[in-house]
Point group: C2
Chain length 364, copies 2
């Protein structure tokens, strides 16, 4: 199977937190801007749960612009005239890096034989990719949401690999509520008879209905109650009165259905299972003897944490928890809670204050 994405193959098997190892790991990535002679201007952008490496270039399946074009490009806050920006698809995902749909040693897709991975395993893959690229230290590692988890994990476990760490709308551990929402999504996928225990590759049907429900449930958590009210309220969809039926009478229903069905065209259900599992397992303190400050002890990096006041998925208290640990570890850290109406998704949307914070942190 040829990989239609730009990628490199890691030279060594990747050891995993489970004790297993992943052989022949493919890392699919995109880069923007030019790496300077001493390789000191590289910025690694880590993507979120359903994100990918197409941070500032057209998505090959949807044809849509990159997911962070507003932030990354010439003259933009993450300025590709100045920085060499790298973004790779995480292992477990489905845009060219090794994941459940990749062939195992027997040539058949791993499906559910793929090992359960962690956020640290994802970062281990990214670090091995940086090794292969000859990049010893990043100027900055940046990420929002699950990308922020990776940025924090890199700082905690490979402290010499990034001079600066910018973690946006994220947390150092998944809460019971976070796990609960993910479990609903996984159960929706696994309840879909087309899931077939994960062995649906090459079959006529994939578990699209289950995956769409999972996406719909998750999508609500990405938005704020206020944002939903402002955007949709109780407005009806292309009709003057309720139909007294089960069609999408309300705009918010129509929107959610669209989000669900669109998602299934670009994402793999098994990848959704594996990546949500990795996020639920995420707890940096637990990896470091139960104390978050210990995870960051002696880190030479500078940190910037950003939260959004309307984000109820990873609320400000989660960022503050990280900041307190960094303070206890004596690490230089700046922290700002930005006001934005878009909930968790604020990090992806038009929030000029975020642009200023990002630019300021990279310039400073």
């Amino acid at each position: 199977m040829s990989n239609p994405h730009t990628s490199l193959t890691l030279p060594n098997p990747l050891p995993l937190d489970s004790g297993q190892a992943l052989a022949c790991v493919e890392m699919a990535y995109e880069t923007y801007g030019t790496l300077n002679a001493d390789k000191s201007n590289a910025i690694l952008i880590c993507h979120a749960l359903t994100g990918d490496q197409y941070v500032a270039s057209t998505h090959p399946i949807t044809g849509k612009p990159g997911w962070w074009e507003r932030m990354v490009g010439p003259g933009k806050p993450i300025d590709t005239d100045r920085f060499h920006v790298i973004c790779a698809n995480v292992i477990g995902s489905c845009l060219g890096s090794t994941g459940p749909q990749s062939p195992a040693s027997d040539g058949e897709p791993y499906a559910m034989r793929f090992p359960v991975i962690t956020i640290r395993d994802m970062v281990r893959g990214l670090v091995a990719m940086l090794d292969a690229m000859g990049i010893a230290q990043l100027h900055t590692v940046v990420g929002g949401s699950m990308g922020g988890m990776q940025a924090l994990s890199l700082a905690a476990n490979w402290p010499d690999r990034a001079g600066r760490v910018l973690a946006i709308a994220t947390t150092a551990r998944h809460s019971a509520q976070n796990i609960a929402f993910h479990e609903v999504g996984r159960q929706a996928i696994m309840a879909d008879p087309h899931w077939c225990g994960g062995d649906y590759y090459g079959e006529e049907s994939a578990p699209d209905a289950g995956l769409a429900v999972a996406r719909m449930a998750a999508h609500i958590t990405y938005l704020s109650e206020e944002g939903l009210t402002e955007k949709f309220g109780r407005r009806l969809q292309d009709r003057d009165a309720k139909t007294f039926g089960f069609d999408a009478d309300f705009q918010v229903e129509s929107y959610l259905r669209y989000q669900g069905s669109g998602f299934t065209r670009r994402f793999d259900a098994n990848s959704y299972l594996y990546i949500t599992r990795a996020m639920d397992y995420f707890d940096i303190a637990e990896e470091h003897g139960g104390t978050l400050a210990k995870a960051f002890a002696g880190t030479p990096a500078r940190f910037c944490l950003v939260s959004f006041d309307s984000d109820w998925l990873y609320p400000t208290a989660e960022s503050r928890h990280v900041v307190h640990a960094l303070n206890a570890a004596g690490a230089p850290v700046s922290f700002v809670e930005l006001s934005a109406p878009f909930g968790h998704d604020s990090f992806l949307l038009d929030v000029p204050a975020l642009d200023r914070v990002v630019k300021g942190f990279l310039d400073g």
Copy 2:
């Protein structure tokens, strides 16, 4: 089909907001305490989405105690030594009142031929039942969550039928976020191939998997983030370490799965579709020219509204919105926000302050 529940048949067809009418409506109900000679001591308790008439008696399917035994009984806040308490299964539900699984005129279950109903239609059924019982005016109508919607709807549309109105953890309209969560549940049910367009009665399988996912998603909204953290946190379920698999490693996963599967044994998937639809359609102001105060103009009833500080499904602002409308309508109203850690479900749980408020309002 004989009805194993206590019930009465309404003498006339029930007109519905859709313009349709429902013939031969069965109302299944339970009563507690004795109706006095002038029939002035009746309290109607309205149940929530997945509730039923077994408010203070053993549930015939689960064998569990009534859902509000802590509140209703001899010497309890709703004192059955003093009051005649009535609780009826709402139309559209599945515990003996007419709903999607009831036979239509052709003898076959309605399934999706059942008309889409509204909260006002449910109350219309309850009022017709009270007529049949010869109860002209209730001492009090009480309800939490969807039960509170019915209490408010009765006050707005049949203002002479209740002297007091006690509405707990509720709202006068469903928000975009409320609708969104319900739509996820409906899509989960409809995506289940055993749903078969609603025609699963008498078949070997019902859409249990979809209904369980719907229940799981909804259940998260009934609890608070803080409550989930306190109750489960990131604690593992009967194991010392993560399994690196997709079993329920975390207690919160195990709990949600249990909630989902238990629910399917006592509830009908089509009823879930119809009742969530009724709730999403709910907007008392819209029914009364767009102004909530108009809905309550000239009401002779006394009101008491109760909200909980950890309820993010129907937050305090929604109760306050009702209180402002009642103030504008000149109705006597008391309002209290109680502090309780259990989220929306607080109205069902051990919150002694709620007991005092309920008792005080009935005594006062």
